[in-house]
């Protein structure tokens, strides 16, 4: 796969370091696309050329009318579903282990995506922000949801 260096990317697209790193934090540019390699000048970062140029072009086209959150949902939708899937799966495991019934709801508000874990009689076991969960590692998400389930058993 053809690659482009970070420096070349900024020069070619006209974006700034600030924009690049803000978009990375917001999940608009996946961390996996930042590939560090040793070059004759030292450590340099490279990206998959076609994908990054396409992504930056799309963000630049959308950024004046859309919020970064909206752009992320539009461009990175599939990754959101993966996170949703992870929450549902982890909650499913809690339910199986705890032999209790509960349901998971993932819903969207203006602030982003939220999740809620409810018992049958509507008691809230857990709720939070999906983005915050995304910041926590996958392992932390599973452990956290499992901990809620264990507390519920008591």
């Amino acid at each position: 796969m053809e690659e482009i260096s970070k420096k070349e990317l900024l020069a070619e697209t006209g974006i700034s370091y600030g924009q690049l790193y803000r978009w990375k934090r917001e999940g608009l540019i996946p961390e996996e696309w930042f590939v560090k390699r040793s070059s004759f000048t030292g450590q340099e970062t490279f990206f998959p050329r076609e994908r990054i140029l396409e992504r930056v072009k799309a963000i630049l086209a959308m950024k004046d009318g859309w919020s970064l959150e909206e752009i992320r949902r539009e461009l990175v939708g599939e990754e959101d579903s993966a996170l949703e899937g992870l929450i549902r799966e982890a909650i499913g495991a809690v339910i199986r282990d705890g032999e209790s019934s509960a349901q998971a709801i993932v819903f969207e508000t203006n602030d982003g995506k939220h999740y809620m874990l409810l018992t049958k009689d509507g008691r809230v076991l857990a709720d939070g922000n999906v983005k915050a969960l995304a910041v926590l590692s996958e392992k932390a998400v599973r452990e956290r949801i499992k901990a809620f389930g264990e507390t519920n058993k008591r």
Binding site: Y17, A132, V135, F148
Partner: protein, 216 residues
């Protein structure tokens, strides 16, 4: 005193010597000595005492006047550090970081705006507007730091600084990349790459300069 981590607590104030599991709060005020076993998610977080968090922290507004050690990521909108914050094995992401205290991490710090008059040790600092002015030199601190001079205590030490605008004083860095870069007093930099305006103080040591820049 113990909190359980179920559901959402509204506000919590923690005093004394306490261990909490973690959880979701609106506001959390930590005085005393506190251990957080898991992840913490709050709107407002204030740490005045000594806190160790074994998970990650997500908060809107975070201020630390005390001592905090985190064994995970820290993801906040704004963080104000007057105390000592150490991040082990995770990254710090924020819209705005203000540090008049000491911030140490082996990982990455990524923020739109970083304003530091304190001391930062990090592998990477990336963002939009990065200002780090370590190396205080008023009367009393001059005497104090003369004693610690050999240890380089008063300098911030960073491997890579990369931002749209960079303004440094008293910083030791291997690489600085930016659009508009100011290398101020008492800096020691391996390589600067600049694509806009570059300013280098006479007292600063810069070993290599690359890029298409204008010297001012």
């Amino acid at each position: 005193m113990e909190f359980s981590g179920i559901g959402k607590q509204s506000s919590g104030k923690i005093d004394g010597v306490v261990t909490i599991k973690g959880g979701v709060y609106d506001d959390l005020d930590i005085d005393g000595v506190c251990t957080v076993e898991g992840d913490l998610e709050t709107q407002q977080l204030k740490i005045n005492g000594v806190c160790t968090c074994h998970g990650s922290i997500a908060a809107t507004d975070f201020s630390c006047d005390g001592v905090l050690t985190v064994h995970g990521n820290v993801c906040v909108t704004a963080i104000d550090i007057d105390g000592v914050v150490t991040i082990n094995g995770g990254k710090l992401e924020a819209d705005k970081i203000v540090c008049d205290g000491v911030l140490t991490t082996e990982g990455e710090i990524s923020a739109d705006v970083i304003k530091a008059n304190g001391k930062i040790s990090a592998r990477e600092i990336v963002g939009d507007d990065v200002t780090i002015k370590s190396y205080w030199s008023n009367g009393f601190t001059k005497l104090l730091f003369k004693i610690t001079e050999k240890t380089g205590f008063r300098f911030s030490q960073i491997d890579l600084i990369e931002a749209t605008t960079v303004d440094l004083r008293g910083v030791r860095a291997k690489v600085v990349n930016g659009r508009n870069v100011t290398i101020g007093k008492n800096c020691e930099i391996g390589r600067v790459d600049c694509s806009g305006q570059l300013k280098i103080d006479a007292s600063a040591i810069v070993r290599e300069i690359t890029g298409e820049y204008t010297m001012s």
